[in-house]
């Protein structure tokens, strides 16, 4: 049978009424856990594993697929409406999405996230089906030095998300980098900055930090303003749906987000967040409306949302082709496979084609169902913003606290949530951007570990960092991104000087 026939067969079985029902349960659950910060898709799939013992392999895989894609999507809703990222991959979405929501454009923001996720999910799933074996070869070429170069590129490009003042942005970034040092050093097993507190041994949880910085900090900030704050956020201004201009500005961002997210998701040490960072930076660079970034630019929602869904599909590339789980959710799905006596790996495509194609088909169905489920809800979700402010922010606090306890039932974690909430409040008062702290916390350890691994493998020879072609290209890109704006600015000043000289004549 050819690839296409397998896929068609998979689609037929995934479209059976019972399987559609499982898909519906999956995407609904997935969206819900995506919305609740802290409880991720991994935990949900783990909780559901025993339930799925009763189902056949196809049914349970369809449900997992729904949860997986649903979780990636659900995180964006709270990011946009409440500035509370449910997952670390939707942190970037909060940057522009929440600004849009405040300006009465929450509807288009949610819509571009939903449609972008669908488009990216569709393309990436098809890519998973047809080019997975080639993508995985590319992913394996990436060793520590290539990853380090990728992190350098991410640092340089993401610095454009640092707001208007470079000094303040860098200050925030270094707070994040300092916090990222806390915990056991991966490479030597030694404790750093944990001050004998066992809860700090594993470092500072990114989602706790994100929820504290965004949700708690903002709640405190609003509460501190008291009666001075504007009474109500304008929930809807103009259409709830995307306008023609919104479409025109979104579609390219969706495609670019997909192209960035998918391969990075497929890399064993890539991760969904890096794709969203790079996508955001790319959109900002390429936008015709760069002045809107930071005030609610629709591309800044469309691109990263597409990127995180594409990378979710990308994660399945190493899982299906190598049996290599690169995220917690993928690890649980691997356990799910084993439950049916299947060993994902190089042989799976050959030995169990029906199952692989069944999974891919169910991902496509889940993707479609998410869109069907969520687009009509956009109007309802936006009404959230019409809730009176004291209620809304009290709700956010409950939400944030519950999510944190849900992920890690510890008093210390809760204390950390409040302390970092206070830190975020102070930063807001003094106009320091929040996002770079999270960027530093995520990228810092990755960059450090990969650099040290690369140098350890080469026994201290620094030149290896530049001698791999991929690493060299990535570093060159980073250097260009760093130097080009400086050169342009210099030339700009030259023009101004010339003009001044000319006007004196």
């Amino acid at each position: 049978m050819s690839t296409f026939e397998f896929l068609l067969q998979g689609l037929v079985s995934a479209a059976e009424p019972m399987n559609l029902f499982y898909a519906l349960i999956g995407v609904t659950l997935g969206t819900m856990v995506g919305v609740l910060p802290g409880i991720g898709p991994a935990t949900t799939v783990a909780l559901l594993l025993p339930v799925t013992y009763q189902l056949d392999a196809t049914g349970s895989l369809i449900m997992f697929a729904g949860i997986y894609y649903g979780g990636m999507y659900g995180g964006s809703t709270t990011s946009i409406l409440l500035n509370t990222p449910g997952e670390s991959a939707s942190i970037v979405t909060a940057l522009e999405g929440n600004k849009m929501a405040r300006a009465g454009r929450g509807g288009p923001a949610l819509a571009t996230a939903a449609i972008g996720s669908f488009v990216a999910g569709l393309i990436a799933t098809l890519a998973l089906a047809f080019i997975a074996p080639y993508i995985v070869k590319l992913a394996l070429v990436f060793g520590p030095r290539e990853y380090f170069a990728l992190m350098v590129l991410a640092f340089v490009t993401v610095s454009s998300a640092f707001g208007n003042s470079t000094l303040r942005g860098l200050t925030s970034l270094f707070i994040g980098l300092a916090l990222s040092l806390v915990g056991i050093d991966q490479l030597t097993g030694q404790n750093r900055l944990s001050f004998g507190v066992p809860d700090l041994l594993d470092g500072i949880e990114v989602t706790t930090m994100a929820v504290a910085m965004f949700a708690i900090g903002e709640t405190l900030f609003i509460a501190a303003q008291g009666a001075q704050a504007p009474d109500k956020i304008e929930a809807i201004k103009g259409s709830v749906w995307m306008t023609g201009q919104d479409w025109a500005r979104s579609w390219k961002a969706w495609l670019r987000g997909t192209v960035i997210g998918f391969p990075i998701g497929a890399m064993p040490a890539g991760g969904a967040e890096i794709g969203t960072f790079l996508s955001y930076a790319t959109e900002k660079k390429l936008s015709k409306h760069p002045e809107e970034f930071g005030n609610g630019a629709i591309e800044g929602v469309a691109g990263p949302e597409a990127a995180n869904n594409a990378s979710a599909a990308g994660t399945l590339v190493p899982l299906l082709t190598l049996g290599l789980p690169t995220s917690a959710t993928a690890a649980i799905m691997l356990a799910g496979f084993q439950q049916y006596g299947l060993q994902p790996g190089p042989l799976l495509f050959a030995t169990n084609p029906q199952l692989v194609w069944g999974l891919i088909a169910s991902l496509l169905i889940a993707n479609l169902m998410l869109l069907v489920l969520n687009l009509p809800l956009v109007g309802l979700w936006v009404k959230l913003l019409t809730i009176p402010k004291p209620w809304l922010y009290a709700g956010i606090l409950v939400f944030a606290t519950l999510g944190t306890i849900g992920a890690n039932p510890s008093v210390f974690e809760l204390g950390m949530l409040l302390v970092f909430g206070l830190v975020a409040y102070v930063m807001r008062v003094f106009d320091y951007p929040i996002a770079p702290v999270i960027v530093g916390l995520i990228l810092g350890p990755l960059a450090e570990q990969q650099l040290r691994r690369a140098l350890s493998i080469s026994q201290g020879d620094v030149t290896v960092l530049f001698t791999s072609p991929i690493a060299a290209v990535l570093l060159l890109l980073a250097a260009t991104a760093l130097i080009l704006p400086l050169v342009l600015r210099l030339r700009g000043r030259g023009d101004v000087l010339n003009q001044m000289a000319a006007s004196e004549d």
């Binding site: 819900m32 060793g143 097993g189 041994l201 190493p318 649980i332 006596g341």
Partner: protein
């Protein structure tokens, strides 16, 4: 909508801990890893075999299980229904992290499963046998980079023991720690490191499909179905097993301990447990009572020695 959502989340959050459970099992790791899978397999079998009516699993991830064990020892004291999964990695982590709470502060019940360590290289490597690898290691210990799991874990200890048995200074080994077997596997397949060391299960499908070459296994005798010499046969006196265990809470009475041990024995002897071991590729290494306590003390002592020799524990 929002009220409904919040209410359902609240209900869900409250319902979980309130449910009457015969046993609650703590997996001191994130969902997906070996301990989590052990805990969840126990959960299923305990319920299927009607040994326990309701079993719940909770994850307390982090730091090789030392965060989980600290929480378990302090919060579950005297609770005969509380169990915790652990294993050899925890022995190492307690030592390297200088954890104030050790396995002495809980009530170890039994060893359940185990996996042997294997040493692999990518098929394209010019290293054809474990002898080739040792020759290279002896010539220049730094030139052999070992890819494996977290620092101070079973894989790291294995590399240290091999170096020591070959007469190479264990502090000189170039061990590259990855956050898990998966990431290490990618680095090995991509020829980023010289050799890989981890549990057989991590590499099984790659060995079978011919992308990795299996050099040796850390068992005492040849294992049926695995075509590789043991380290012992290759002249390296190393036997190492990554075992997993179950422990009960501290401060329980002797009768309670007996009851838990009896339940665990029923679990291990059940047909569905044995079937689960087969599908997961785990070996049955069941050992309980004084024999287990003795073995545990031995393992802790030898681990401390090798970790000191590698230089991870001062």
């Amino acid at each position: 909508m929002k009220h409904f959502l919040l209410a359902s989340f609240l209900a869900g959050a409250i319902a979980l801990p309130a449910a009457a459970a015969d046993y609650s099992i703590m997996a001191p790791a994130a969902p997906g890893g070996g301990w989590d899978q052990t805990a969840r397999t126990m959960q299923n079998v305990l319920q299927q075999e009607k040994i326990s009516k309701r079993v719940q699993v909770m994850n307390v991830p982090g730091a090789g299980g030392t965060i989980g064990i600290a929480q378990f020892a302090s919060q579950q004291k005297g609770n005969a229904n509380a169990l915790m999964v652990g294993g050899y990695v925890m022995v190492g982590a307690i030592l390297t992290n200088k954890s104030p709470v050790t396995l002495k502060d809980v009530t170890p019940i039994a060893r359940l499963t185990g996996e042997y360590e294997v040493i692999v290289v990518p098929t394209s490597s010019d290293i054809k046998s474990i002898g080739d690898l040792i020759t290279k290691l002896k010539a220049d210990p730094g030139s052999v980079s070992w890819g494996g799991g977290s620092a101070g874990g079973t894989d790291h200890i294995g590399a240290g023991l091999i170096a020591k048995a070959a007469g190479v200074d264990p502090t000189k080994i170039n061990y590259i720690a990855f956050s898990g077997g998966g990431e290490a596997l990618a680095a090995i397949l991509g020829s980023q490191v010289t050799a890989g060391i981890s549990s057989y299960g991590e590499f099984e499908s790659q060995i079978k499909s011919g992308t990795l070459r299996l050099l040796a296994i850390s068992s005492a005798e040849k294992v049926a179905g695995i075509d590789a010499p043991t380290l012992k046969e290759s002249g390296l006196d190393v036997v190492l097993q990554n075992w997993r265990m179950v422990a009960a809470a501290p401060g329980i009475s002797d009768e309670q301990k007996k009851a838990v041990t009896a339940d665990v024995e029923k679990l291990v002897k059940s047909a569905s447990w044995q079937e689960n071991l087969k599908t997961k590729g785990w070996m049955d290494t069941y050992l309980s009572g004084p024999a287990f306590d003795e073995q545990l003390a031995k393992d802790i002592a030898s681990t401390e020695t090798i970790l000191k020799e590698i230089g991870l524990v001062k």
